[in-house]
């Protein structure tokens, strides 16, 4: 049974001989015999690659809801964007794919420079001077931003807006079990954080808002900054990188830390991962930055060179005093993001953003024209995502739309917990979060609206 090891029997014998051993088993002599596995692992027999490919393909076929088989109107932080063959080809180059952390910069200028370009782009989108080399995903970036801000403000109370993605809020709360931070939920009113609702409590060290919120609405970042200034908190903005290209940057509006989910920048939907955690901050906070940072420098001959820098923040040097525990990050996705952004360019990215806005609005207009279907937040401008309420249970509606070939969006009830401060409890079960990217056509949207009309009139 061939595998990926090169050892021939003769070589194994030769190697054992060199070590003075009689058998491979003797290599494990240090392991108490009583603990060793006897009789082998209870796993299916290994099978050749083509058989495995066939098995995995068979499983893949059961994923009938994939964006290549159904028209995708699901968003909520994970979007069906165009990823052109050129980005796939470049991002798949094995030098990028099969390297590891650039510990030896002399032979890692490829990844280092790509990350330097990525950092530049993330910093520009954030409107801040520094970005790191990536974190796991949007949720991890929010967690790290809170940790940074608590450390900077020396106050462990976090005002967490309900406009932040519900899953990310869950993750924040999970991790707060360890750090002990106090997470205070800030409800939304008409899609905007209502800080009055949490006034009077302990002053926050951190305020976190979504931009746009996960419901597609717009916070007034000036107001958020004022709330921060009043309380002395750091301002953390969880921004969508596509929308960021056409909006005023959070940095220019006072954000101290900007985070986000970078999946939209060239990474496929991937059933949720690997994604890409974006992270940018002010220069003041750079020594608290989590994760890796690439900086430009010179080599001993004066050639421009790149290297990971300010390493003293990191776990391998600072151990229990590190700014974060992150080691492996999502470098490949960051490299891909640099490539995808290079492909889009200034105007392409703005074009994608504009199309997402107009397509989502067109979608919203078409479906809310259906009898019984209304916007969750009538009259509130939304972009990127839009929540619509139907007369039926959302999951029933989505199931029926699936029968017609549409992944019609996500049920708010599947995203949020009961009592979530972002949505009125009375409509939560009947609300669907939808999104249309630059890939959605008018024909597709019109067809969805027609299908939805049928579904709700049944």
């Amino acid at each position: 049974m061939p595998d990926y090891t090169p050892h021939t029997d003769a070589e194994i014998d030769m190697m054992l001989g060199f070590l003075g051993l009689d058998s491979v088993e003797e290599l494990f002599a240090a392991i108490p015999a009583a603990l060793q596995v006897s009789g082998g692992l209870d796993l299916p027999q290994g099978i050749p690659e083509p058989d495995v490919a066939y098995a995995m393909e068979s499983l893949a076929k059961l994923n009938t809801g994939g964006a290549s088989s159904m028209v995708c109107f699901a968003g909520a932080g994970a979007y069906d964007h165009e990823i052109p063959p050129v980005v796939r080809a470049l991002g798949g180059r094995s030098e990028f794919v099969t390297a590891y952390t650039p510990y030896q910069p002399e032979v890692a200028q490829g990844v280092l420079q790509a990350i330097f370009e990525y950092q530049t782009l993330v910093a520009r989108l954030a409107g801040l001077p520094v970005a790191n080399a990536s974190l796991y995903d949007g949720s991890a970036s929010v967690v790290e931003a809170i940790n940074l801000a608590v450390s900077a403000s020396r106050r462990a109370v976090v005002h967490l807006s309900a406009g932040v993605h519900p899953h990310w809020r869950s993750v924040v709360k999970t991790y707060a079990r360890g750090t002990g931070h106090t997470i205070v939920d800030v409800p939304l009113v008409n899609g905007v954080s209502n800080f009055d609702a949490v006034a009077g409590g302990e002053a926050p060290g951190v305020v976190v808002v979504g931009y746009p919120t996960y419901l597609g609405t717009f916070e007034d970042l000036g107001d958020v900054r004022r709330h921060c200034d009043e309380t002395g908190a750091l301002m953390v903005v969880a921004a969508d990188p596509i929308m960021a290209s056409i909006l005023k940057t959070p940095g220019s509006q006072g954000a101290d830390v900007v985070v986000g989910e970078g999946q939209s920048l060239g990474t496929p939907l991937s059933y949720g991962g690997p994604y890409l955690g974006l992270f940018a901050c002010t220069l003041e906070q750079v020594r608290r930055l989590p994760g890796r940072l690439v900086g430009e420098t010179l080599d001993i001959e004066g050639r421009r060179a790149y290297v990971t820098t300010l390493r003293a923040r990191e776990q391998d040097i600072r151990r229990e005093k590190a700014t974060s525990n992150v080691c492996s990050n999502q470098t490949l996705m960051a490299v891909v993001a640099a490539i995808q952004l290079g492909w889009l360019g200034t105007h392409g990215l703005a074009q994608v953003a504009t199309r997402c806005v107009t397509a989502t609005r067109y979608l919203s207009d078409q479906v809310t024209a259906i009898d019984g279907v209304t916007p969750l937040l009538p009259g509130v401008p939304v972009a990127r995502d839009v929540a619509v309420t139907t007369p039926l249970d959302a999951s029933v509606v989505l199931d029926r739309l699936a029968d017609e070939g549409f992944l019609g969006g996500l049920a708010l009830s599947s995203l949020t917990d009961e009592g979530d401060g972002s949505v009125d409890a009375s409509v939560r079960d009947r609300t669907i979060l939808m999104s249309a990217t630059e890939r959605r056509t008018r024909t597709e949207i019109d067809a969805l609206a027609a299908a939805l009309t049928k579904v709700v009139s049944r």
Partner: protein, 509 residues
């Protein structure tokens, strides 16, 4: 000519090492206003001015500047960058503690299948039965491999798994009405362990390593009390040695009510040989990217599933994929779940790769992987011991830490010089100065996919380097001389921080 000759021409390939020069412009330097590469689908959606759709205060005057390049220049730029990057696919990468094995291309193909890659994570279970089956099958396989009862696949990497494990530890004790504040960690541990412990809310007590390269049992016993939530161990440890006293350690920790956490980064040494669960561990994270052959992507992504024994299972993050009573797959949340640790379900495509790898190997094949990884490490250990003696000179597991102390004393050549000089020989450097407890440490992990011939060539290179250190140490200090750049000025990078193109432009402007 009115042409800005400073603009970096995309079509000039001088930066390719093939052509012997060494500077690649940044994509920003190649940018020319008005150029573009993107092409988007025709949608037919009526255009509308953004000002009608977006609150006026929010809209920027002009889009954020990215770069404006042609597809041709984009391709040339990133292809050339790829030529400036060492990788497993180019040659041996014996970077200890990282398991830089060859990753089958099959896994890339599987991860790129539209039926896996194009699936939205929020799609309902009824439309993603294939994915749920993959998650369940991997969970079951990992439990069998580790001897555990249940697992979460959410953590994105090893460190995330550690923190998850520590939160589980906390939840477990809390459920017992127990608040414990200390976690024991050997001094040889990876930096993520103490960093995670801090984030998990614990104080770290460091346990020294004894002269065998193992946990000092007496010191451990002395540190144990009922304030100890648990111990984090890597076994084999980061010195590549198997913790032979593991049964005693487990008994001692359990006796005070603590849990044993297994840092599974070194699982490649023991697949099918010994299982953490059988050793007495309660919680383990695995680095799928190391053991189960996900390429490392220049620094990530990985995946760090956490498997636990029965008594911790109820606390696992949720939702979790599960086989339901009717034979279909769905999502369940463990009763006393600590909550989510990932925005969705974890690094799903990495998970699919790992399952692919496990299916090809089966149980026997996985054991063969470990046997050969250990065989390679030991052969190399013995072969290079004259110049580079192992820190602990007896049988090691999948990696070996050697020390350059003696070489440095004799010649002045440091571990870092050896590492840099080795690059010129066609090999990636080993991990240097880790674990911290070993002086002038060079940590070699050849992995099972390197051949005896490659190991021999590596050994010959090391011999040559040691000889050279004796007669011409300046060669080592000057190394590397044949790479696209030579030793970089790390101090300057930290002193004059240039983290972006814009920082540079400001500086020189």
């Amino acid at each position: 000519m009115n042409l800005a000759t400073s603009a970096a021409p995309g079509g000039r390939a001088a930066s390719t090492p093939l052509l012997g020069d060494a500077r690649e412009p940044t994509i920003f330097e190649m940018s020319v206003p008005g150029r573009s590469a993107y092409q988007l689908r025709t949608t037919g959606i009526p255009e509308r001015p953004l000002s009608e759709l977006i609150p006026s205060g929010a809209l920027a005057d002009s889009p954020v500047p990215i770069a404006e390049v042609s597809e041709r220049d984009l391709v040339a730029h990133f292809t050339r960058l790829s030529h400036r990057q060492f990788s497993v696919d180019l040659g041996a990468y014996p970077l200890g503690s990282c398991t830089m094995k060859y990753n089958p291309k099959l896994c890339d193909t599987i991860a790129a299948m539209p039926g896996l890659a194009d699936v939205h994570p929020g799609a309902p279970a009824s439309l993603t039965q294939g994915w749920l089956a993959i998650l369940v099958e991997l969970e079951e396989s990992l439990c069998e491999i580790t001897g555990m009862a249940a697992a979460t696949l959410q953590p994105s990497a090893g460190a995330a798994g550690e923190l998850t494990g520590l939160l589980l530890m906390g939840a477990y004790h809390e459920a017992n009405g127990d608040r414990r504040r200390r976690v024991l960690i050997p001094d040889s541990a990876h930096g993520t362990n103490p960093a995670s412990a801090t984030l998990g809310g614990y104080d770290v007590t460091t346990i020294p390593t004894d002269e065998r390269g193992l946990v000092d049992l007496d010191a451990l016993r002395a540190a144990l009390d009922t304030d100890v939530a648990g111990i984090m161990l890597t076994n084999p440890n980061t010195a590549g040695m198997f913790e032979e006293d593991i049964a005693e350690i487990a008994a001692a920790v359990h006796e005070v009510g603590g849990l044993l956490y297994y840092d599974g980064a070194n699982l490649n040494a023991i697949l099918g040989v010994v299982r953490p669960g059988d050793m007495g561990f309660d919680i383990i994270h695995m680095n799928l990217h190391k053991t189960f052959a996900t390429p490392h992507g220049g620094g990530g992504p990985g995946a760090g599933p956490v498997a636990v024994s029965q008594r911790v299972a109820d606390f696992l993050p949720g939702p979790k994929a599960a086989r339901l009573a009717d034979g279909s797959y769905g999502w369940i949340t463990p009763e006393r779940s600590i909550g989510r640790v990932h925005g969705w379900h974890g690094n799903a495509l990495v998970i699919a790769r790992a399952l692919t790898y496990i299916k090809v190997h089966g149980g026997d094949g996985l054991r063969r992987v470990s046997e050969r990884a250990v065989l390679n490490a030991n052969w190399l250990r013995k072969r290079i011991s004259k110049n580079f003696p192992a820190a602990y000179d007896r049988m090691c597991m999948h990696e070996v830490v050697v020390t350059g102390t003696e070489l440095k004393r004799q010649t002045g050549a440091k571990a870092i010089d050896v590492a840099k000089r080795l690059l010129e020989e066609g090999f990636h450097s080993p991990t240097v100065y880790f674990p911290l407890i070993i002086d002038e440490a060079l940590m070699f992990e050849p992995t099972e996919t390197e051949s005896l011939q490659t190991l021999e060539a590596l050994a010959e290179s090391l011999d040559r380097i040691a000889d050279e250190a004796r007669v011409a140490p300046e060669n080592l200090h000057a190394a590397p001389r044949t790479t696209p750049v030579r030793r970089v000025d790390e101090a300057r990078a930290a002193r004059t921080l240039v983290p972006t193109q814009d920082a540079r432009i400001e500086e020189s402007g």
